[in-house]
């Protein structure tokens, strides 16, 4: 039984503790649904695992693109290496928003051996003052790390002490990597800091303002589609936190409602924003695929008492796109597809694919918990008893699964698609800023993209002919879930 944890604690409990999140499962979808329904799902682990993400990365990914902020990573310098990657998203994001691209700004306290022994709090204090002086930001986020956590650095106390000396608002973010194996816990650490140190009591409520919580990996094109739909309801979208200003976050309690483009991402934030500032929320699904977009809109309509207007929009939109979808369906029907994605997207994308008539033969979700369990069960009703893997990015399992399932096309993030491409499968990345997935237009846009990938498979085939084998042949004779073990 998952323990219920009060949301407003100083440090957010991990998702393992709070939501019973699991990161390891292999089998058929129906079995997973059944185990979850009977609450018999064991917290499995792997006896062999490949490199995966650290929750600190996801914490930084949440806040590093805030336009007038600086990130300080209180850690050995290596812990901030992934910010270079986040910066690629950052620059591209600016371009897509019609801005001159600029770099994300970050500092590392560069904890060395002597700091580990004697403590690094003075160094952190200096870094905060330096960041304030050098960049004059509106907010400064201080990210913890394994080293800071192990030696017990009291970053809350440092922040409190240094705040009177700087102009920026300083926000501690607890994201010590070793605390959680579920990287999504990092989102919670970031949002907890935002809610506790930035968001202010609203002076007035705005009936036309809706917060839309959106992760960095859902791009600007999706935002445009969502904005279009919300405008039809006369709502102004406040996209937070990525590429937003500090003030957009500060004023988020003024909104009439908070909604989400990714429930896995927004889960903790929307709940806490309601608990502390009474802003209601909806976060049932990602608005990807026709049915899910309908549902996403209906949730908003219900919460705002505007059901009829929403139904009208749904009819209009469906009428507009359904003929185009039917055209695409002719070319895509029956194609076997395998999807790998974060847990919310692992529900959204297959629904979109089902709209287009593809046959879902397998799903890998990065983790699994109550955030998606109901929607996952519904997906099995729509798409059948497909192969299911819960894995926090484990290419060795994926290549083995694909070798057995032999999809016509593989959809995954950049880092995983590359393996499928080497195996010769046509691939389409589900995270590429230049493609649209969300809303009604997303179905049409992504459908066309799938046709491109399916009609031009030569590159991946040629790649597979020339690429050396990824793993030894003996591995493909083994069961893909060989290294899963019970608790």
């Amino acid at each position: 039984m998952v323990k219920k944890v009060k949301l407003s604690e100083k440090i957010v409990p991990t998702r393992e503790d709070r939501l019973g999140t699991i990161i390891a499962y292999g089998g058929r979808a129906n079995e997973l649904v059944d185990l979850a329904a009977r609450r018999c799902l064991k917290a499995q682990d792997r006896s062999f695992t490949q490199t995966t993400f650290c929750q600190e990365w996801l914490a930084m990914f949440t806040l590093a693109t805030i336009t007038d902020a600086v990130s300080i990573v209180h850690a050995p310098v290596g812990c901030s290496s992934s910010l270079s990657c986040i910066n690629i998203f950052n620059r591209l994001g600016h371009i897509l928003r019609g801005r001159v691209p600029s770099n994300a700004r970050w500092l590392s306290t560069n904890l060395l051996e002597a700091d580990t022994i004697h403590g690094g709090e003075e160094k952190l204090k200096k870094a905060i003052i330096e960041a304030d002086k050098r960049y004059q930001p509106k907010s400064i986020f201080v990210f913890t790390s394994c080293v800071a956590g192990i030696i017990g650095e009291d970053i809350d106390a440092v922040v409190e002490k240094v705040q009177p000396e700087v102009t920026a608002l300083v926000v501690p973010v607890h994201c010590d990597g070793f605390r959680s194996k579920v990287w999504a816990s990092g989102y919670d650490g970031s949002f907890h800091g935002v809610l506790s140190y930035l968001v202010k009591e609203p002076t007035a409520k705005r009936d036309d303002l809706i917060n839309v919580v959106n992760p960095l990996t859902v791009g600007r094109l999706d935002e445009v589609e969502i904005e279009r739909l919300l405008n039809k309801l006369g709502l102004k979208a406040n996209f937070i936190p990525c590429f937003a200003s500090t003030d957009a976050l500060r004023n988020s309690a003024e909104a009439v409602l908070t909604t989400s483009l990714c429930p896995t991402y927004s889960e903790y934030f929307v709940k806490l924003l309601q608990e502390r500032f009474q802003v209601p929320y909806t976060q049932e699904v990602m608005p990807i695929g026709l049915d899910n977009t309908d549902l996403w809109l209906r949730e908003i309509g219900n919460r705002l008492g505007r059901k009829e207007e929403v139904e009208k929009i749904i009819v209009e939109e469906r009428k507009r796109v359904e003929p185009k979808v039917a055209e695409l369906k002719k070319k895509l029907k029956g194609k076997k597809v395998f999807v790998s994605a974060g847990q919310s997207r692992a529900i959204g994308i297959p629904n979109l694919l089902a709209d287009l008539g593809l046959e879902l033969i397998g799903v890998t979700a990065f983790h699994y918990d109550e955030v998606i369990s109901d929607r996952f069960a519904e997906l099995t009703k729509r798409c059948g008893n497909f192969c299911t893997s819960i894995a926090n990015v484990q290419p060795f399992e994926q290549t083995n699964i694909l070798n057995r399932e032999k999809p016509d096309i593989y959809l995954g993030h950049l880092g995983e698609s590359v393996w499928a491409a080497k195996q010769g499968f046509p691939t389409a990345m589900i995270l590429i800023y230049l493609c649209l997935y969300a809303g009604y237009n997303g179905v049409v846009s992504f459908g066309s993209r799938l046709i491109n990938a399916l009609t031009n498979p030569a590159f991946n085939k040629r790649l597979a002919d020339h690429a050396s084998s990824i793993y030894r042949d003996t591995w493909y004779g083994e069961q893909p879930f060989k290294y899963l073990k019970g608790d």
Partner: protein, 293 residues
């Protein structure tokens, strides 16, 4: 040259391990050995009584200052004893355990021990084996023998028992073994018997019983060891005897620590007995079983 002897002395905080260690160092120096004493306690006061109460710069202070020059961390004390303090963080910050690891690694990397080439190296280590850092001297290649200083106070024996657990952990991978127990502040027969019983139960041996003595306190307040401040005292003779036994002893044990419940129930029986004896001594009260003065 005979093989260098490296030992580590552990004990609960305040139990008298630095006092014992420093007197042991002097006694060994008197016997003609070249001794290096390395304090592994963030308080950095292990070797103070060898240098009239004066503090010295520590290994970790040197590292913190950005210098890698460790030439100034070895200071000669009474009878030419080489004094080193590992040092550590201020109370309440950082990580003292990591400090011990780093300090010992640095001493090795910089070849400090080799350079001075002492016959005996004594590590004086804080308290319980509370984490991997404080277990560092037990691990392979540092000390070869461990001595546990304990009084008959239950918590002190509890700490010794924890130390034994640490020794067992590394015993099979070339770590240090237990040389024995040094009973400290022992004035009563029952206290001796209690420590004896503990050593029997844990499969170890008691090397020496050191009595509680005002002479020790007085010399320490003057910034001296007992052997320097009161060399002809009975107490000094006890330390000399201890030194002789340690330098001559080749006995080493893999101790058999008690599990916590066993230790508590054993302790409770002994504490009742000690309290009974105290009653007789101070109040002249005898229980029905007789005994007493």
């Amino acid at each position: 040259m005979t093989k260098r002897k490296e030992i580590a002395i552990y004990g609960k905080g305040g139990i008298g391990k630095s006092t014992t260690t420093s007197n042991l160092s002097v006694a060994l120096a008197e016997m003609g050995y070249k001794v290096m004493q390395i304090g592994c306690d963030p308080k950095s006061d292990s070797t103070n009584t060898l240098r009239r109460g004066r503090f010295i710069p520590t290994v970790l202070d040197t590292l913190r200052s950005g210098s890698s020059d460790l030439s100034k961390i070895v200071h000669e004390g009474y009878k030419g004893i080489l004094c080193v303090e590992a040092g550590g963080p201020e109370p309440g910050v950082g990580c003292a355990g990591r400090g011990i690891i780093t300090a010992i690694e640095l001493l090795n990397q910089k070849g400090i021990i080799e350079e001075y080439s002492p016959d005996v190296v004594i590590y004086d280590v804080l308290g319980d084996v509370v984490c991997g850092g404080f277990a560092m001297p037990i691990r392979q290649g540092v000390a070869e023998q461990i001595y546990a200083v304990t009084s008959s106070d239950f918590m002190s024996l509890y700490a010794a028992n924890n130390l034994f657990k640490g020794i067992v952990k590394y015993a099979n991978s070339g770590g240090a073994l237990l040389g024995g127990i040094i009973g400290n502040s022992i004035n009563k027969t029952a206290q001796q018997e209690m420590i004896n019983d503990f050593s029997r139960k844990t499969g170890t041996q008691v090397v020496e019983y050191v009595p509680r003595s005002q002479t020790v306190t007085k010399c320490e307040l003057d910034g001296m060891t007992t052997l320097e401040g009161s060399p002809k005292s009975k107490q000094a003779a006890v330390y000399r005897s201890l030194a002789k036994k340690i330098i001559e002893s080749g006995n080493s044990f893999v101790p058999k620590p008690l599990d916590p419940e066993e230790l508590w129930s054993w302790g409770s029986t002994w504490v009742s007995r000690l309290l009974g004896e105290q009653k007789v001594a101070y109040e002249g009260i005898q229980d029905s079983k007789g005994g007493g003065i």
